[in-house]
C-alpha cells in the first residue's frame, strides 16, 4: 500500500553544507537538517538557491536520498542550467527548500522486497535501506551506465544484499532487460520497488503484470510548483485520468499508472 505523507510541509531556508562531485557529472548535495527525520523514502523536495534571481523560474525537484539529525542529502546528475548551478553553491549559501513532498515507497516489515534501481534512480533507496525496520529482507539490483564509483552503491552494499549490473555498451542492454524481467518474476509473493529511467520502469511494469508481482514505480518529471497546483507534471493513472506526479506520486502502484 502506498501511504500518503501527512507531515507538515513548510518552506525553509537551509544552509548549504557541501557537495561531492563524482565522475560523469554525478553530484551529492548536502544541506543542514530541515527536521525531516520522519520523511518517507521515495518522497522528494523542491530546491532553489536563494541567490538564483529571476532567470530560472522554478525550483528543482529531487528525491531525498537520505536524512538524519544533522543533514539532508540529494543525489542527482547535472543535466541542465539548474543542476549545473546547484553544483556551484558555496558554504554558507542558503537554499530555499519545500518538502518533503509526495508520497513514498511502502516499507512493510519482514516482506521480501526487491529494490530495482537504474542509474540515478538509486537515490531514494539509500535512505530506504537505512531506515527499513527489517533490512535483512531487502535485496538491491542496480543497473548502471557510468562507473560504479559515480554512485553511492558501496555504502548500500555494506548494508543489504546487492548486485550491480554494468551496461558498458548498448549491446549489453538486451541481457540486462532479460535479467530485470527474471528478477521481477522471481519476486512473486514479495514486493518490487523501482526507480530509474522510463524504459527501465516500463520493463518492470510489464514483467510485474505478467507475473502478478506487487510493484511500485517512482516517476520523474519536470515540475514548476511541486505541490499539485500547476498541473505541469501529470501522467495518466489506471483510469486514464491525468494526475499530478508531484502530489499523487511520485511513487505509483505499477498497475495504477500509464507509462
Amino acid at each position: 500500500m502506498v501511504v500518503r505523507n501527512c507531515r507538515e510541509v513548510k518552506v525553509r531556508e537551509l544552509r548549504f553544507l557541501g557537495v561531492w562531485e563524482g565522475p560523469s557529472d554525478f553530484v551529492e548535495l548536502t544541506l543542514e537538517n530541515p527536521g525531516w527525520e520522519g520523511y518517507r523514502p521515495g518522497q522528494f523536495a523542491m530546491l532553489r538557491p536563494k541567490h538564483w534571481g529571476l532567470e530560472l523560474s522554478w525550483g528543482r525537484p529531487f528525491s531525498i536520498s537520505r536524512a538524519d539529525e544533522e543533514s539532508v542529502t540529494f543525489f542527482f546528475q547535472v543535466v541542465g542550467r539548474g543542476t549545473e548551478r546547484l553544483t556551484r553553491l558555496l558554504p554558507g549559501d542558503e537554499v530555499i527548500v519545500w518538502g518533503p513532498l509526495g508520497n513514498g515507497f511502502s516499507a512493510p516489515e519482514e516482506t521480501p522486497t526487491l529494490l530495482l534501481a537504474g542509474g540515478m534512480g538509486i537515490a531514494p533507496f539509500r535512505g530506504y535501506i537505512e531506515r527499513h525496520p527489517t533490512p535483512e529482507f531487502l535485496r538491491l539490483v542496480f543497473a548502471h551506465r557510468a562507473g560504479i564509483d559515480s554512485y553511492p552503491y558501496q555504502m548500500m552494499k555494506d548494508k543489504v544484499r546487492a548486485e550491480a549490473i554494468h551496461e558498458k555498451t548498448p549491446d549489453d542492454l538486451p541481457t540486462i532487460i532479460e535479467r530485470i524481467e527474471a528478477e521481477v518474476a522471481g519476486a512473486h509473493g514479495g514486493l518490487v520497488l523501482a526507480c530509474g529511467p522510463l524504459p527501465f520502469l516500463k520493463t518492470i511494469q510489464q514483467a510485474a503484470k505478467l507475473h502478478q508481482v506487487r510493484a511500485e514505480l517512482s516517476l520523474e518529471r519536470s515540475m514548476a510548483c511541486g505541490v499539485g497546483a500547476c498541473l505541469g507534471c501529470v501522467c495518466k493513472d489506471g483510469q486514464d485520468k491525468h494526475v499530478q506526479v508531484c502530489a499523487r506520486g511520485p511513487v505509483f502502484k505499477a498497475d495504477d499508472v500509464h507509462l
Partner: protein, 304 residues
C-alpha cells in the same frame, strides 16, 4: 497603514490576489501561509464539464519566465462547488471563480451554477478560449464577441461582480477593455499570457505537445505594465494588473499606473509562500513610495 482596496463591489484586505492556474484551488498552499491573509484567490479555470487538459509536455521554463499549455484541466464547476469551495476561507478572503467555456451559451450556464454560491465573491471570465461557433478564433480577439460574452455572463451573475480577463495577443487591448465595459463588466483583469513557443534542436520537436503555449513570468512584466497603463486610460471600470509580478514593489508599479489590485501568478512557483511574503512586504514597500494607503498610490503616476 491601510492596505485595503475597494473596487467593483469587492472589499479586499490588501491588493494581492493569486492568479488563476498558478495557485490551484488555494488548498494546495495551506501549508505555506494563512490563506486568510491574501486579498483574494482566483481559482483554477473552471469549465461546465470536467476537462482532462492537453497532453504532456505542458510546461517549459524559459529565461525569466515559462510557457504553459495545460489546457484548463479541471474537475468541472460542480466538483469545485462541492469539494473545494467549502474548504476555502471565503468569509475572510475573496474567492474568485475563473470561468472557461467555448460558447456564449456555455459561459451563461457556467455562470448560472456559480451565481448562487455565497462563497464566490466574483467571477473572472477567461476569453482566451477558441470560440467553437465562430471558426475557432478566440473570443478575446474579437471585441464584439467580448461584449457578447460579457453580457451573457452579466445577465446570469445575479449581482456578482464580473471581471473580464483580457488577452494581450491583440492589436489594441484598450479596444478589448472598452468592449468588456460596453458589455457591462464590473472590472477587467490583464494581461493573460502572451502566445509563445519553444523548440528542441535535438529532437527537432516543439517543447510543448500543444506546439504553442502562454508565456508568463517576469519576462512579460514590461508588456503587462504598458497594457495596464493603456487600459486604465481607456476605461472607467476598475483594472486588475497581472503579468510578471514577483515583489511588492512590482505590485505598486501596477497600482501607480492605475490598477486597483494585482494578481500574482508565476511567482508562486519561485517559492510557494511568495504571495504571503508579498503581503508582508507591502507596508515597508509603501514607505519607500511615501504612501500610507493603497488608495493614494492608485493612478498617481506622474507623466512627463
Amino acid at each position: 497603514m491601510d492596505l485595503r482596496v475597494e473596487f467593483a463591489g469587492l472589499v479586499l484586505k490588501n491588493p494581492i490576489i493569486t492568479a488563476s492556474g498558478t495557485f490551484g484551488f488555494g488548498l494546495e498552499f495551506m501549508n505555506f501561509g494563512d490563506l486568510k491573509r491574501l486579498g483574494g484567490i482566483v481559482v483554477k479555470g473552471l469549465s461546465l464539464k470536467p476537462r482532462e487538459g492537453n497532453p504532456m509536455p505542458r510546461i517549459v521554463e524559459t529565461p525569466c519566465g515559462m510557457l504553459n499549455a495545460i489546457g484548463i484541466q479541471n474537475p468541472g464547476v460542480e466538483a469545485f462547488v462541492r469539494d473545494k469551495l467549502p474548504l476555502l476561507p471565503w468569509r475572510e478572503t475573496a474567492i474568485i471563480a475563473n470561468l472557461y467555456a467555448c460558447s456564449a451559451q456555455e459561459f451563461g450556464d457556467l455562470t448560472g451554477v456559480l451565481a448562487g454560491e455565497e462563497g464566490v465573491a466574483a467571477l473572472e471570465v477567461n476569453v482566451s478560449c477558441p470560440n467553437v461557433q465562430s471558426g475557432g478564433a478566440a473570443f478575446g480577439q474579437d471585441p464584439a464577441q467580448i461584449t457578447k460574452v460579457t453580457e451573457e455572463v452579466k445577465k446570469r451573475a445575479v449581482g456578482k461582480p464580473v471581471i473580464v480577463k483580457l488577452s494581450p495577443n491583440v492589436t489594441d487591448i484598450a479596444l478589448c477593455a472598452r468592449a468588456a465595459e460596453a458589455g457591462g463588466a464590473d472590472a477587467v483583469s490583464l494581461i493573460n499570457t502572451l502566445l509563445g513557443m519553444a523548440v528542441d534542436i535535438r529532437t527537432r520537436k516543439p517543447r510543448l505537445a500543444n506546439v504553442v503555449g502562454g508565456l508568463s513570468g517576469p519576462a512579460i512584466k514590461p508588456v503587462a505594465l504598458r497594457c495596464v497603463h493603456q487600459v486604465c486610460r481607456a476605461v472607467k471600470i476598475p483594472v486588475i494588473g497581472i503579468g510578471g509580478i514577483v515583489s511588492a514593489e512590482d505590485a505598486l508599479e501596477f497600482i501607480l499606473v492605475g490598477a486597483s489590485a494585482v494578481q500574482v501568478g508565476t511567482a508562486n512557483f519561485i517559492r510557494p509562500d511568495m504571495a504571503f511574503r508579498m503581503v508582508d512586504d507591502l507596508p515597508r514597500t509603501m514607505l519607500k513610495a511615501r504612501a500610507q494607503t493603497i488608495a493614494e498610490l492608485k493612478g498617481s503616476l506622474e507623466l512627463p
